[in-house]
């Protein structure tokens, strides 16, 4: 059985960066997926399963981050989380 490992670079779309609400929404989406998702900015990589870890990445609007997905659902996970990072999740 092979483990699928994928990555994609995206630009943060939320105006406040990956903070409170955007981080909570991404963490919630990640937990529902059949894959391990990490976010990478520069040298720093965090597992994206808790808002706290995502916030600690310190990604601001316009920053480039790499989404990494591993596991059976990696492909779908990558598409979904990359799209979330690119959206403005702080818009009401």
């Amino acid at each position: 059985m092979s483990t699928t490992s994928l990555s994609r670079s995206v630009v943060v779309g939320s105006k406040v960066g990956l903070h409170a609400r955007p981080a909570a929404l991404i963490a919630k989406a990640v937990k529902a997926l059949d894959a391990t998702v990490s976010l990478q900015k520069g040298e720093k990589t965090v597992v994206a399963n808790s808002p706290l870890r995502i916030i600690s990445l310190g990604a601001a609007c316009g920053d480039e981050v790499t989404v990494l997905a591993e596991g059976p659902g990696a492909e779908a996970a990558l598409a979904e989380i990359a799209a979330l990072v690119e959206q403005d999740l702080d818009a009401d």
């Binding site: 406040v16 960066g17 903070h19 409170a20 609400r21 909570a24 929404l25 963490a27 965090v46 399963n49 808790s50 808002p51 706290l52 870890r53 916030i55 600690s56 310190g58 009401d92």
Partner: protein
């Protein structure tokens, strides 16, 4: 001061997360940081989306619309030694935020750096002295400082 010892409550208990957020709101009101309407908005925000952060921490705060009810920016820390069920997770520490601008984003960033450090996070979850909490959360004030 963003945080002061009188806004550190180490021996709280709450039957559920809304009761915990209500307590957090009361502390902010008592401290003169916000008007009661902001505390109400904290409950509304919690209903919309959980403010659970991970590692036993949550961060109740108001809605954008309630910013007018912030008297001055600051935070309060409430510890729930028995834990509070937070949508299946357990929160031990609530960091209540009174903020009228995006300055809380900078505060949150600094908090996250403390809270992802396992050792400091554990010290915060088990703190018995308000001063220890102040020392752990040495947060610099945003632009206003």
């Amino acid at each position: 001061m963003l945080l002061s010892a009188d806004r550190v409550r180490l021996d709280e208990s709450a039957p559920d997360r809304f009761a915990a957020v209500r307590r957090a709101g009361e502390v902010l009101v008592q401290a003169g940081l916000v008007e009661p309407a902001y505390a109400e908005a904290m409950l509304e925000r919690e209903r919309t989306l959980s403010t659970y952060l991970g590692e036993g921490f949550c961060m109740p705060h108001g809605t954008d619309a309630s910013r007018a009810h912030v008297i001055r920016a600051g935070i309060a820390v409430l510890r729930f030694p028995d834990g509070v069920d937070w949508e299946g997770e357990t929160a031990y520490v609530a960091i209540a935020v009174a903020s009228a601008s995006d300055e809380h984003v900078a505060v949150l960033q600094q908090l996250a750096d403390v809270l992802v450090d396992d050792e400091r996070a554990e010290q915060l979850r088990t703190a018995t002295d308000p001063q220890a909490v102040l020392d752990l959360l040495q947060i610099e004030e945003a632009a206003s400082a």
